[in-house]
Structure formats: C-alpha cells, structure tokens
C-alpha cells in the first residue's frame, strides 16, 4: 500500500509539471501581461520595459516558468492585476467554490446513485424508461441553458430563490447553483449506476446472498451496491476537478464570487499570475482526487490489493 502510494505520487510529478507548463505557455500566448497593467491605454515603451524587467518578463519562457514554480513552492503565487496577492484572492475564492462543489457532489451521490439503483433494479419498466429519457434530456441541455432557465423560473418568476448569490455564498444559497453544476454529471452517475447494478444483479454472489435468506435491503446495500460502485466512484472522483473548472459557467450565471469568477476576471484582464496560480491549484486538486479514487477501490472491493 505505502509503496503503491509512493509510486503514484511519483507518477503525478510529470503530469503536474506538464499541465502547469502547458497552461503557462497558453497564458503566454494569450497576450502581453503588461498591457493589462496600464489600464485601457497603451503603456509607453519605457514603462513597459521597466515593468517587464520588474516581473522578469525579459527572460526566456522556460526561465520564467522555473522562477514561477520556484516561487509557488515557497507559497508565493504572485500578485494580481489590482495589486492584491493571488493567495489572498484564493483564500476568498476557494472556500466558496469548494462549498459549491460539495453541494454538487452531494447531489450527484444522493440523487444519482438512488435513481441509478432504482432504475437498475427495474430495467425495462416504465420508471426506468422515464428516468433514462430524463437523463438524456439533462445531458443534452447545456449547463448554461439549464442555469439560465432555473434562474428565470425559480428566481425571477416564482421568487423561490434569490437570482444572484451574495458574497458570503452560504450553503442554502448554493443549493440551486449546485444542482445546476451537478446536473450533467448527475445524469451520468445515474446511467453508470444503472448499468452497473443491472449487470451485477445476476452475479453469483447476489444469488448466494438471496439464497442465504438475507433481507432484500441488505442484499442490495451490502452486496449489490458495494460491488457496483467502482465505476461510479471513478467517475465522481475525476469529476471533482471538472466540477471546479466547470464552475466558471455556473458562477457567472448566479454571480458567485468563486474560483471561476476570479479566473474569468484574470483572463479578461490578462493577469497571468492569477490564471496560472488558480489553474495550478485546480490541477493539484484533480490529481489528488484521482489518487484518492484509486485508493478507494481497495475499500470497495477487498479483492483489489496494492503491491
């Protein structure tokens, strides 16, 4: 187990540096980082050169990347366009997005797995067909359309929720945005669970459990569900990163000041440091989530051992 974790951690290193380098290059292609610092006017050449020197932008890209990464490992993510430390922005933005992502994941787990189990056990029945159709529709309607429609209906027409989230972004304000963020993944979780349950339902161990006279509830939760959850856990784990990155759209619709909002601002203002900093953290989250998923396999299926 310990050796497996170490091997996986070592494998993460090239992916981490590759992904951050890629985004670093993309942001450099994105445009002149100095341009954003002089407001809407063009910088005069002397100031531009001065600023370039100050930020080390006169050095080659690989040198800039190395310096940046060196700083990141000492906890210095640089400064945003308005002079605020990027770490400061992170400390306000990440809690909000983490809350939003947690709400979304709870929706995925509770609604997605429940619907998946219900339909998987009743394959071909009307409820199965209905849920399957519903998931297809949810997958097909892009998140920003779902979000705008829910905002229109719940927020504007019926007044159930406030159309935009306050800066505190408490959990109860985030329920509808969380549902919007989760919607597509929720449909995938439902379909995955359904397929997996339907496949395992005929497995020998389920028949054994039934033959032993175990109550139906126990057969389903302890035997069937536990064995069917592996693909679902994989999906939810890889989805954590996607949800946090995908929150850009949801946060824009509901005016939530989280990671997506800061990233969007950073891109608009061409603030290299903000964009690279936030993406670096997001990549780390993605990698750690994947590692946790792999370790969870052994908990769900004791046959899986790590050498």
């Amino acid at each position: 187990m310990g050796r497996y974790v170490i091997r996986r951690l070592l494998q993460m290193i090239p992916v981490f540096f590759g992904a951050t380098l890629l985004i670093f290059l993309m942001v450099n292609v994105m445009g002149d980082p100095i341009a954003g610092l002089c407001g809407d006017r063009k910088c005069d050449p002397a100031t531009a050169a001065q600023l370039k020197k100050e930020f080390g932008l006169d050095k080659p890209v690989w040198h800039q990347y190395a310096t940046y990464m060196g700083n990141v490992f000492t906890g210095d993510f640089g400064t945003a366009f308005n002079g605020q430390k990027v770490t400061e922005l992170m400390s306000t933005a990440f809690p909000v997005t983490i809350r939003l992502t947690l709400v979304a994941i709870v929706f995925e787990i509770v609604i997605g797995i429940t619907l998946g189990v219900v339909t998987g056990l009743r394959r071909g029945k009307p409820i199965d067909t209905a849920v399957l159709l519903l998931t297809l529709i949810v997958i097909s309607v892009p998140t920003f359309v779902t979000g705008l429609l829910l905002q229109l209906l719940l927020g504007v027409e019926w007044g159930v929720i406030k159309p935009s989230v306050s800066s505190e972004a408490t959990v109860d304000e985030l329920i509808v945005p969380g549902l919007v963020l989760a919607s597509v993944s929720l449909a995938y979780v439902t379909r995955l669970t359904r397929t997996s349950i339907a496949e395992n339902r005929r497995a020998d161990y389920v028949r054994t459990a039934v033959a032993k006279g175990l109550p139906r509830r126990r057969v389903i939760t302890r035997h069937l569900l536990r064995n069917s959850l592996i693909p679902v856990v994989t999906f939810i784990g890889t989805d954590v990163g996607a949800l946090m990155g995908g929150a850009i759209v949801t946060e824009r619709i509901f005016n939530i000041h989280g990671v997506g909002f800061q990233l969007y601002q950073g891109i608009l203002r061409q603030s290299t440091q903000t964009v690279v900093g936030f993406v670096t953290v997001l990549v780390l989250v993605f990698l750690v989530a994947n590692l946790i998923v792999d370790l969870l396999y052994a908990v769900l299926d004791p046959r899986i051992r790590y050498a």
Binding site: I139, P142, L149, L152, M244, V249, I267, V279
Partner: protein, 330 residues
C-alpha cells in the same frame, strides 16, 4: 450471433463479400475490399445467413431502432438547413430593425424579435450551420488525430506509448472550458476555425486513449499473430487486421462527442470567447438573450431549444450506434 471477429467462422462461411471483419477469409483470398465504416456493406449475406459482419449486423439492428430513426431524421434535417437555410427561412439573419426590438411573435415572424430587432426564427434557422460545422469538423479532426496517435502507440508500445500516455494525462488534467477561455480569448477572427482547432487540440487525448486500448486488445487476437507469422508487414497488419476490429469504440465515442462539442461551442460563445458576430450562432444568441431574460424570455427559449434538440439528436445517435456495435448489451 456469430462472433464477428472469429476467423474460423469467416473461413467456414467463406463470405469474402461479408465485409472487412471476415479477416481469415479476406487474408486467404485477398478479395474482400476493406469496408470498415460502411455499415451497409454490399449485403452479401442476407437475413438468416450464418455469418454476418459486425457492421451489417449493427446496421440491421439500427434500422429497427426507433431512437436511431428519429435522431437520424433530425440530423438529416439539421444538415439540410445548415446547407440551405434559405429553403425554410426567407429573411436575412443580419437584417435587423431596432424598432422591433424584443417584440413577441407576429404574423410572418413566429418566434418574435431579439434585442437588436432581428427575426428570431431566421436566426435560429441560420444558427444551425455554425453548430453543425463545428461539431462535424471538430469530431473528424479529433477522431483522425486521436486514433492515429493512439493506435500507433497501442501497436508499437515502448517509449512512444509511455510518452503519449503521459501527454494524455496532462491534457486530462486541464479543465476544457478553462483551456478554451485562455486560448480563445486572444482570437479576434470571427470564423469557426479557431474554435474547431481548439477542440481538436484538447479533444484528441480522449479518443487516443480509447483507440490505444482497443488496438492493444485487437493486437492480441490469433489472426493478427497468424498474419504476423505469415510475414505480413506492420502496415498491413494495422490497416487490414487491427484497424477494422478496433474502430468500433472510436466511432461510438466520436458520435457522442459530436453532441458535446456542439454544446461546448455554445458554452464558449456564451462566455464570449467562442464564435463572434456576425457569425450567427445559438450560443451567441442565448448569451445576448440572457440579458433580457426577464422581459423577453422567448429570445432565449427558441435558440436554446434548437441547441438542446441538436445535442440530444447526436447523443441519441451515439447511444443507438453503441447499442448496435456493443455485442455485450445484446
């Protein structure tokens, strides 16, 4: 159902015209033209014949599947209106009169007008072209690049495989919408090509991973070993024996991906970095309409509905194709 890639089956039946899957037969006689991706085939084996290729079998399934028929009809219609939008919409999508801004439906303008006073019906019809172009071109690009790179990695293994797998991991770690925002925010061109290029750039690892796995599985089959023993060259093994057997999962994933690329284009356009006016796109129209959502929701609902139906049609098509090609579900 006969195993589609069982060489013995093909050899016994000896139907060279049965398609590319009867590999033993085609290897023995070298008569059968490679017909991968041609689901219909020449229909050399009629109903009830002992051996059918995976493709003709899948096609028989598809023809009976109502989901396939409905989604197919929708897609044919979409392709038609993206080629000849003027056939069903007589107006000009860029001919707008501010005096009509935000008005509801009126005779001759069934969907009403948008914030700039453009006819929503005309714009919705013309918007199909951008979506279909982006979806089809991005999918073709991703499928070609991904299957070539992934297939070669799976076939040759070794260092190239290891490097490619790491590169794939790197691309998977970057959220797509975010990458789109960063890369496309500098683009000023208002054609569809930057968006397509971006999708190919970030989309190919998905297909390459699938193609790689599927080639590795196909590579271990007996008939490939047999071909190798008979002295077949690498390119012959890849093109004649492995590719036709490994392409099915790629087709399935690519079809479903087509729908998601259309949704992604709309999302990027909504965020303001995808397609740009004067290109007519549902994403742009939805984005513009979202500002007037309180007063004039009809401006949002029509392009959003068209977008949803389009994505739905492609995803349903992908589902139907998967059901037909995946023997495990039958």
């Amino acid at each position: 159902m006969p195993e589609p890639h069982d060489p013995a089956e093909g050899a016994i039946a000896g139907t060279g015209a049965g398609g590319a899957m009867d590999l033993a037969a085609s290897e023995a006689t070298t008569l059968a033209p490679g017909q991968q991706g041609e689901p219909g085939g020449p229909g050399g084996t009629g109903a009830g014949a002992p051996a059918r290729s995976l493709w003709s079998d899948a096609w028989r399934d598809l023809r009976r599947n109502p989901v396939f028929i409905i989604s197919g009809l929708i897609i044919v219609f979409l392709v038609f209106i993206s080629l000849w939008p003027s056939a069903i919409a007589s107006g000009d999508p860029l001919d707008c009169d501010l005096a009509n801004a935000q008005k509801g439906s009126s005779p001759g303008h069934p969907f009403g007008f948008d914030g700039q006073g453009c006819d929503v019906y005309t714009r919705t019809v013309y918007g199909a072209r951008a979506s279909v172009t982006v979806g089809v071109c991005a999918t073709l690009g991703v499928a070609l690049l991904g299957s070539v790179l992934g297939g070669l990695a799976g076939f040759f293994g070794g260092a190239w495989d290891a490097i490619l797998s790491r590169i794939t991991d790197v691309f998977f770690a970057i959220p797509v919408v975010l990458g789109g925002l960063v890369l496309l925010s500098v683009v000023t061109s208002n054609t569809v090509w930057p968006v397509i290029g971006f999708m190919v750039l970030l989309g190919w690892p998905q297909i390459s991973r699938i193609a790689r796995g599927s080639v590795i599985t196909a590579k271990q089959n007996d008939y490939v070993q047999a071909a190798r023993a008979l002295g077949a060259s690498n390119s012959r093994m890849l093109l004649r024996h492995i590719a036709p057997n490994a392409v099915a999962p790629v087709i399935v994933v690519a079809t479903i991906a087509l729908g998601t690329y259309i949704a992604l284009e709309a999302t990027l356009s909504y965020l303001g970095v995808g397609l740009k006016p004067p290109t007519v796109s549902w994403g742009i129209d939805i984005s513009a309409a979202s500002q007037y959502i309180r007063n004039a929701p009809h401006m949002l609902l029509w392009p959003a509905g068209a977008l949803a139906i389009t994505v739905l049609a492609f995803i349903m098509l992908g589902d139907a194709v998967r059901d037909a090609l995946d023997p495990k579900l039958r």
